[in-house]
Structure formats: C-alpha cells, structure tokens
C-alpha cells in the first residue's frame, strides 16, 4: 500500500460532497498523509484517529480550535476546503496554525454574495448594481422601485439554488415569495440580494492563486444561455470560443476580483459575463469547481510531460500547492474538453435511467456518470440543487465536444415515478 512521504494534509470534506473520491485518490497518488475532516463523525474515527476527525464546520473559530488540538497530536502541513463553507473553515485553521491559506475575511467575502459585491464595487471591479433586502420587507413596495430585469439571489446557497430572474413587478413578487420559501426551508438566511440582470454570454474561470497572483487554469464557455428565469447550469466547454480580447478582459477582471477580495492562496472558481460594456464579475468562490466537473480539467507538465504522456488532475495541483510541494507547469492539455451537468428531467422519484451505454458510445464521450440513485427524489431548480449526473467529453475542438455532450444527453431517458 502507498506510504506517506510528505507533511500531513487536512482535507475538509462535507459529507454531502461529490468531491471525496477525486481528492482522496489524488492524495494517494501523491503519497500524502491525509486526514479527512467532516462535520459528522465517520464510524472509523475512533479506530483511526489520525486519518479522520470531526470539526464543527458551522463555527469556523471552533473548528480552528478543534483542528489545533488535533494538530498537537498529528502535525498538519496544509489545509484545503472543497466547498464555500469549507473554504471559510480552512482559512480560520490556516490562520491559527500558520499554514498557507486565505485571510478569513477574504474567505468570508467570497462566501457571502452581498459582502462580495460590496468589496468588489468598492475596488472598482465591474459588478451588477445590487441591493440587500430583508425577507420581511413590503414586497409590493420593493417591486415598485427595483430595476428590471433583475435577479433575486440568496446570499449563501450553492449551485444557483433559489436564484430567480424577474422582468416586472408581478414577477418580482412571485419570485420573492418563492425565494423566501426556499430560504425558510433551508433555515439559514433572513436577507436576499436583488441585482440587475446582466445580459451576455457567461463563462466560468478556474484558477489557482499563488501568493496573491492568479494563475489561470481554464476558461469555460457556457453555450446554453443563462437568461433565466432559473439558472440551472448545463454545459461547460474549454477552451473558450470568445474572441481573444474578450478572454483577456475576463482574465483581468478575475485578477482584479482576487485582489479586491484579498484572496491570497488556493483555488478559485469564478462566474463572469461579457457584453458590449466589457466583463462583469458575477461571483467568485475561494474553492475549486464543484460537482464532478473537475474531471474535465487535465494538466500537462510542459513539453517534457506531454512527451511522456503525464497528466495531473486539478486536485493534485491543489494539494501540491497547499503542502508547498513543487508545482508542475500549470498548463491545461491541448485538447478541448467539456462536461454537461445533466439537467433535472422533472420532479419525481427516479426509477431508472435508460440509454447509458448508448450515451457512452457517442464518439468523444469519455464517461456518463449517473450520480442520482434509484428511489431518489429529483427536485428541479430553483428549489433543487442536485444534478442527476454528469457527461464528459474530450476532442479536438470545442464545437465537437459540445456536439458530443448534446448527442449523449439525447440518448438518455430518465424514468420517474
């Protein structure tokens, strides 16, 4: 079995993550001593106290104290959070233990959409006009004075859950009530962000921040228009087909956002739009791309690595950076690649998915991963936030990759009850 050869990594994995396998296997490939921290205890925690630990993810300072206590017995050399909450906890732990990481204020700003917009606007980063409103405000008064079209957003829910576009006052009132219901169900917030809808194509920017400088790892086009009323994501394809000047503006906007929020170290995932007025920063998270989408990114170690056929996963780069291990050249492979987050086919209980083999047989398709299990209730956006699966493709051009993803999706049939 693999034996650790470097300092110990503390990996913050919420139990509801898609990211466990990718990070755990990356740590194994690198021979890293790994401790997995979750918000709920593993049944093996007592038997393997160095490998598993429970931290209070809801209270970053308490989690940092717990991690400090843990580190007295098992010294930690690096910490990684894989989601928005985990990034805040990781920042608190890094600060307390003197590890590489972000200032807690930067991680908090990246997690909270209102704080983030305030900081970005204050530093001149282009963001949509925004207002914060309480859930108990008079909705009709609000509807009469907001600008249309607008977008209503919860401050901290992930995966565009609860994000709704409104084009007029009746639409605003309906959207407000719906978001309020989602937030009450989630039980986490009393405020809502209302911002101008920004027209134009949306991209996702994946990067690694090293000592405050952003290294661009990938720019993904989202070829399905995200014009609302809900914002369920579907296809990501890289490299971007936007004109080079637009890509450069987007990258610079991402750099400006990193600097404005004070992000210093680690992965970022940002959503931006581009239109005639230039780039717009929609959101920036101090964590890597979510779901299983990271599988679409593969990196070479420069020319020498390409000749040997060596590739690195995004998770390997993130772990190497967190532990101060040497980083290979941060160069994405030359082929185009893409992923489709399979849209929720409707509300209901999943009985069966047909056509998986046929979808996998589509040329350029590398994998079709169905993550919803039989008997699971599928919930469409905006109430839902869980994709039933992912399709991956790789090819010579972004157009070919996009076509393969759509063709594979067309062969899938979800049988609901």
């Amino acid at each position: 079995m693999l034996r650790p050869s470097t300092g110990r990594l503390l990996l913050l994995l919420p139990t509801a993550t898609y990211r466990a396998t990718a990070f755990v296997e990356a740590a194994r490939r690198l021979g890293v001593a790994l401790t997995v921290a979750s918000e709920l205890p593993s049944t093996f925690e007592q038997a393997q106290p160095d490998a598993l630990v429970t931290l209070d993810f809801s209270d970053p300072e308490r989690a940092a104290l717990q991690a400090t206590e843990f580190a007295r017995r098992y010294p930690i050399a690096g910490v990684i959070g894989v989601d928005d909450d985990g990034a805040v906890v990781a920042a608190a732990i890094a600060g307390r233990l003197g590890l590489k990481g972000n200032p807690p204020a930067a991680a908090l700003a990246a997690r909270d959409k209102h704080v983030q917009r305030r900081e970005l606007a204050r530093h001149g980063v282009p963001v949509p006009r925004f207002e914060l409103h309480r859930l108990d405000e008079d909705v009709m008064q609000l509807a009469a004075r907001v600008h249309y079209p607008c977008v209503l957003k919860p401050l901290r829910l992930a995966a565009s859950r609860g994000v709704i576009r409104a084009d007029d006052a009746p639409g605003f009132a309906a959207a407000f009530a719906r978001v309020k219901g989602i937030l009450e169900q989630a039980g986490c917030e009393r405020s809502i962000l209302v911002e101008d809808f920004v027209p134009g194509p949306e991209v996702a920017l994946e990067g690694l921040v090293i000592d405050g400088r952003l290294a661009l790892l990938g720019l993904f086009d989202k070829p399905d228009p995200l014009d609302g009323p809900f914002f369920e994501e579907t296809i990501y394809v890289t490299p971007s087909r936007l004109p080079a000047p637009a890509q450069l503006e987007l990258a610079r906007c991402g750099e400006a956002a990193v600097a404005a929020l004070g992000v210093r170290e680690g992965p970022i995932h940002a959503e931006l739009r581009h239109n005639a007025r230039g780039p717009w920063l929609i959101e920036l998270a101090a964590r890597p791309i979510g779901g299983r989408c990271s599988a679409v990114l593969r990196f070479t170690a420069g020319e020498e690595g390409r000749e040997k056929g060596e590739t690195y996963s995004l998770e390997e780069l993130i772990i190497r950076h967190a532990l101060g291990m040497p980083l290979p050249v941060l160069e994405r492979e030359q082929r185009a690649a893409g992923v489709m987050m399979i849209p929720v086919p409707g509300a209901g209980v999943l009985r069966e998915v047909r056509g998986i083999a046929e979808a996998r047989a589509v040329p350029l398709v590398e994998d079709v991963a169905i993550t919803a299990h039989p008997g699971e209730a599928l919930v469409p956006w905006p109430e839902g936030s869980r994709y039933p699966g992912f399709i991956f493709a790789r090819g010579e051009t972004p157009e070919a990759v996009e076509g393969a993803l759509r063709a594979a999706h067309g062969r899938l049939t979800f049988v609901l009850q």
């Binding site: 898609y18 396998t21 038997a47 393997q48 979510g290 056929g309 590739t311 996963s313 083999a357 039989p374």
Partner: protein, 205 residues
Amino acid sequence: MSSAEIRITAEPIDDARCKFLVSEPVHDGGVRRFASPDEANGSPLVEAIFAIPGADVTEVIVSGNLVTVVKRSAAPWQVIGKSVGGAIRAALAGARPAIAPKPAAPVAAGGTDDDTLYDRVAELFDAQVNPMVARHGGRVELIDVQDAVVMLRMAGGCQGCGMADVTLRQGIEAMLQQAVPEVKGIVDITDHTAGANPYFAASKK
C-alpha cells in the same frame, strides 16, 4: 446470446482504473486478479486485455459480471474502453472459458499465503469493520485475497455513499495496514451506481 447482444457499461474510477459491467457473467468462479500477462495465460479475455496496444495494462480483476482494468498509459478510457469491450465480447463468444479456473493459492514471499491472509482479513472484517459500518447501515463483503491484494464489495449504506472512498481509504485500508500489514493493496469492486440507499448522498454542486 450473440456478442452483439452483450451490453457493457464502462465506469471509469479515474484515469488509471475503470470498471466494465457486463450484461452476462464473465466468470462464475469467484474473483480472479491478474497482475501480469504471464498470469493471464489460459484466460483468453485477460490475455486480450493485456495485449491492447497503447494501454499498458497492469492489472485485470474479474468477478461475476464485472471486469476491472488498471492501466498505466495516459490514453483515455474512451479509446481503451472500446478495445476492452471488444475483448469481452470476443472472449464470451469463444469456445474456451473466458477465464481459467483459479490455481492453488501460492505461498507469498513472506511465508503468508492468500488463504491465511483471507482468514485474517475476514476476522478483521467480522470483528471490527462491519460493526463500524453497520452504524451507518453499511456492510463490507470480503470477496477474495489474491497475491495479498484484498478485494471487497460495499453494500447497504456504503454502496453509492458520497463518503465511500473515505471509508475505504481512511478507515478500512488504514485498519488493514495496522492489523494485517502483509496486505499489499485493496480493490473495491462495488458497483456504486447501483446503490439505492447511500448513507450520505452528494447534494452540493
């Protein structure tokens, strides 16, 4: 059944490992693991998989209707998988059994044979591993030990669980390292996509 009617579903685990779920049994004689082309002699399916050009296959594990292939090359599973599928169809259509019967267990270099290791791992699973995973409605089945590599299947709350890999690597593998250090590796042959009641279901983006 003709080879055209055989349905094969590929489930890549990562760039190195991929499971192939076949619509009919490939091998009924328990789990067989092959770690070199020499070991594949007499098993047409595995001979063919080791011979796939450009794959640099290092390991093949066959159990029931599941074939797990481990490769060293960077060639994508999209390409290699088609050759594996072709090999499976050809082997099942052939006159000889796709997989030869398991030979008598060899004695490992350290003097510990697979049967002895199996007994020790089974005892660990019964006494410690399964009582622990049972708290989350899970179960871990020891399928076989071959060349000191443990093959297991996860069931119940573990099957399809978002934290299954954490349980496997941080829990079970770590316990095996301590209790049965002669074990060289651990292979999960679970079809996690079929898990109907995972303890933790992934729900975040």
